[in-house]
Every structure is written in structure tokens, then in C-alpha cells.
Symmetry: C2
Subunit: 320 residues, 2 copies
């Protein structure tokens, strides 16, 4: 099971968690799931309760398997919480609500990593276990912790910022230093080199797509690619669809808008799908040399996600 | 929470798992539980699924808390098995059926050990968590794995022998080498030195009481003690009440009888409680210089356990 040797796929997506996973559920309705590679952020990875948790890898896997807790967008549907509750009662911090079967998967990952299997191989084991045929590649097997810096100089892991502290407003910077020094995971550069279309999923541009693009080789591979590169905006009407992207973008001095996201991706993407509520920004984005398509991007159901995927692919086709 | 500093108790018991725990449930009806110290075998400890499991410590704790799965004699009542089932489905060996809340306790132990807390401190945390007031001391904080040697030279950990292989007959030896080299855990020697009564619970003499007595300092402390030392036989009518003691005793060349157990304890105990079905062995055991008391020892309910505890204590009192 050498992930680097599985054949490259025509479609390569850069992914965070919930937004990316919802988009992928639409994409796999439009194109054979086996023709898609998901390169997934590992900047949120962290050890909780002694087990290695990969939030975005798991969200993508569970969602593509149709097993995700749909209400929350993460975790497994119908999971129980015996372990975290018991550990909480024994005095352990338990703000990260990891379900029991989710815990088992992370324990599997931990045991396999300890045995010397790489994160990519474990991702492959889990996606096969869940019957997912889309290729799921961790962006890197190196430590890539995303650190959020807060007013007063406090530095916290992204999951501490998000899940423990409730994503407060006082972000002053986001430190992607580990991702910048990380090597891309097995298969990542090959996938990008051979891609016929590259999609940036509607994920947080700072802490989800940001860490992937922080790896210099990945950034260069995207820039060098002759495949059309299309992004989907995660910002609608000046606010993120989900999550704390607004606080993080503001914290690093980027305008909280589809235009702000376009600025971040400038030089890397050829086209950008933005929401109809942001139609007035299209001209500014076009002026950056980015082809723009205006659409309903709020993926309330999988039909919208499918429509969004179709639009992104047809936009890519028009650029070829 | 320095276990070595909690005050010594008048009653000190040497304990394995199920048999010892059932006896202790009777003992705590006769005497204030805070006046009892349980020195517990750790020869069965092993890492399962990446977590440090201490079977006998947990059985004693859960039983004294009234939380044990009464049918099995181990594990927690009403526990679920999400974690082991999920790990099994991912290809891990899952013959050791650890419940989810049981798993959480072992994960707590693992995390605390990794932080540098000793096994004794963790045992103290767990007994307090479960509201148990009897002092529970691991026999040692050092590795003490009991190894069973089988025909053909195969060497397996005791839990592999028992839970995985179903306790086969072809035992040729039991290797307590690790226990022999282990240092007694914090508080163990003090407890024995200050004991007014020492009781050997009706546990497997080879693999439960055996490892505790294999530590030279413990053996010397028992021998040196001026307190009466009373054992309760785990063998009734030539067979163990529970577990594979017969195969292990036979394997190491000891007669499978209360007399065989008395031979093992000779020089260490002053008195021995045997079952009424073994009344004909009393004379032989008395001839070893061991005062013998004949009684119903099958602890079908806690009333019998209480009666047994009363008998053991009155026998001890008569020796003072």
C-alpha cells in the first residue's frame, strides 16, 4: 500500500475540513470518486488524550463515507462519548469532544505511527476501512502545527484557539512556520504535477488552505502547473460560511471578503467561484487577472454542492 | 498524594484478582475498609491497544466500589465495547475484551505514567475516583510480567496464556524472573512491617500471590513479621474455584490441592483456612506446623465471603 505509487488522478483538490468535505460530496456526484485526489491540511493535527487526532483527514474521510455527524459536520454519526467523559471525570481536560469510535480511529493511527507507518499510509488504511475510493493524502507527514498568536503574546495551537477558547477575536498573527519547513507527504507533489484540474475547496484560506500552500514545494508546484487552478470562496457577504475565518483574516490584516481571499490566492489561481451575494466584487477580482464566476455557494444540501462542483469544473474546462 | 505516607493499616492482604476481590468484599463488612491494605499482583499487567492495563488492580478497585461486572468478576458493569470492536475491525488483535470505561481508566493510567506519576499514585487516583477507602497498593512499580512456559519452549505473557490461548494444559514452568528482580512498590514494605494481621487471599498461588512473594524483600518481610499470617485456600476438592491454577500448579510440579498450596506457603504462613471438602487434608497441613481451619470457602455470595473473613480474622486473633 504505497500511497506514492497509486496512480495520479485528473482532479486534485486542496482541502480543509467541513467546507471541503461538503464540496467533495458534490464533486463525487459529478466525477468518478477514484479520479479525485484530496490533499488535506494537517495543521490542525494534535495529540488529545494521548492519541494522534487528524481532524481534517477524518472529516473528509467520514463525509465521503457518508458516516459524518451531519449536524456538526465532524465526528461520526451516532458515536458515543464514554472515553472523553470518563477521562474528564478523572481530571483530564476534555474540551475536545472526541467520540468513542473516532477515538478508536485515532488510537489506530497512534499505534500505527508508533509502529513506523506514515500518516499517509494510515490515512489510506482508514479511507479503505470506510470504503472511500477518493484518494486522501495528508499534506505532509511532518509536524505542521498551526499556531495562533493572540493579543498579549499568547500562542496557542489552532484547536486550542478554536475548540477550547471558542475562537476569540484578538488574533494578531498565524504562525505557519512548521508547515513552511515541512516536506510534502508521499504522493502530494506527483499528484499536483499530473493534475488536469486543481481545485481549492471552500475552506479557511488562512488555517486550512494556508498550511498546504505554506510548503514551498507545494506552492511552486501549483504555480508551475499548466492545469487550470480554480478556487471556491469560503467567504460569503463578508463572513465565513462556517468557522472563524473572519477573525483569522482580520487578525493577519486581510479583508474579510471574497476579494480578500482572491488577494491571498493571487498568482496561484486562474479562476474563482464567488457567491451571488458578492457579485459586486467580481470586477475587482477579474482585475487581478482571475476569471470569476458568480453562483449560489451555500451548500445547504448536496445538490448545491454538486452544482458548485459542476460550475468549478466547467470553469476549469473553459480555461484549458 | 504520597501513597507511602498514608498511615499503615492493621490488616494487610496479598491479592490477585477475582478471588481476592470477592474475599475483600466480605472483609470490608467485618472491619473498617480504611483499616485494610490490599497489596495487589501486577504480574498480569500488560499493554493492550497501547494502554497500560492492570487487571488485578482494576478488579480489586471495581469490586470494592461495587461496580464490577458481577457475572464475569472483572470489568465494569454495563460497560460498552466500542473501542475494542472498532480496533478489531481495523485489524488489531482484540482477544482482550476491554470495555470503553475500563479503557478510559487504562488510558488515564498510561497518560499519568507518561507524565511521571508512579503506578501506585495512579492506583490511588483510581480508588479515590471510585470512592474506595481500602488502601490499594501495586506490589511494585517495576515491570513484573509473569511468563508462562509451554511445551515446545514457547513463552507467553500470562494474559496471552489465559485470555488469548484459553489456558491450555501444557505448562512446563512459570517464569517470575521480573518479579524477583522488582523492587516492592511505595508503601508495601512499611505496610507489611506494621501489619497486625497478614492475609493471603484465596488467589492463584503461582501467578497471583506468587509474583508478590517472589520479591525477596516482600518474602523476607512476611517471614520476619510477628503478625499472624493466615492464608485462605483457592483450591477446593482438588480444583481451583476459578481460573487455571490447576494447570499452572501441575505445570510447576505442585500437587493440585489445598495441601499443595500449603507446601508453597510453608514457612510463611501460620494458619490456613481450607474448604470443608478438604477436611481430610487438615492433618497433613497441621503436620507442616500450620494451624488449619475447615470451612465453607466457596464465595457464592458476599455472606459466605464475610463468614470466611470473620473466620480468618478470628484464627489470626487466636494466634496472637
Amino acid at each position: 500500500m504505497d500511497t506514492a505509487r497509486t496512480p495520479p488522478t485528473p482532479i486534485v483538490t486542496l482541502c480543509g475540513g467541513v467546507g471541503a468535505a461538503r464540496f467533495l460530496r458534490g464533486l463525487v456526484r459529478v466525477i468518478d470518486p477514484r479520479e479525485i485526489t484530496a490533499i488535506v491540511n494537517t495543521g490542525d493535527d494534535r495529540v488529545f488524550y494521548g492519541v494522534h487526532v487528524s481532524p481534517d483527514l477524518d472529516i473528509v474521510t467520514y463525509t465521503l463515507a457518508g458516516r459524518v455527524d451531519a449536524r456538526r459536520g465532524y465526528g461520526l454519526e451516532g458515536d458515543t462519548y464514554e472515553i472523553v467523559d470518563a477521562l474528564g471525570a478523572l481530571g483530564h481536560e476534555c474540551w475536545f469532544r472526541l467520540g468513542d469510535r473516532d477515538f478508536a480511529n485515532s488510537q489506530h493511527r497512534t499505534l500505527r505511527l508508533r509502529e513506523g507507518a506514515g500518516l499517509s499510509r494510515v490515512a489510506e488504511e482508514l479511507r479503505k476501512h470506510y470504503g472511500v475510493t477518493t484518494r486522501i493524502l495528508p499534506m505532509s507527514e511532518d509536524p505542521c502545527a498551526t499556531i495562533v498568536e493572540l493579543e498579549g503574546g499568547r500562542r496557542v495551537h489552532f484547536e486550542e484557539y478554536l475548540a477550547r477558547d471558542g475562537a476569540p477575536d484578538e488574533v494578531t498573527a498565524v504562525d505557519l512556520g512548521e508547515a513552511r519547513r515541512a516536506r510534502p507527504g508521499p504522493g502530494v507533489l506527483d499528484a499536483l504535477r499530473d493534475a488536469q484540474t486543481i481545485l481549492f475547496c471552500p475552506s479557511n484560506p488562512i488555517v486550512s488552505i494556508g498550511p498546504i500552500l505554506a510548503m514551498p514545494d507545494v506552492r511552486a508546484a501549483v504555480r508551475r502547473s499548466r492545469a487550470p487552478v480554480v478556487a471556491i470562496s469560503p467567504i460569503v457577504g463578508g463572513a465565513p460560511v462556517k468557522g472563524p475565518a473572519d477573525r483569522l483574516m482580520r487578525g493577519v490584516g486581510v479583508e474579510v471578503s471574497a476579494r480578500g481571499v482572491a488577494e491571498l490566492y493571487r498568482g496561484l489561481i486562474d479562476a474563482f467561484v464567488i457567491d451571488e451575494r458578492d457579485a459586486d466584487l467580481a470586477a475587482d477580482i477579474e482585475a487581478m487577472g482571475i476569471r470569476t464566476r458568480v453562483l449560489d455557494t451555500i451548500m445547504g444540501d448536496v445538490g448545491v454542492a454538486q452544482h458548485l462542483a459542476e460550475a468549478a469544473l466547467s470553469l476549469a474546462a473553459s480555461l484549458r
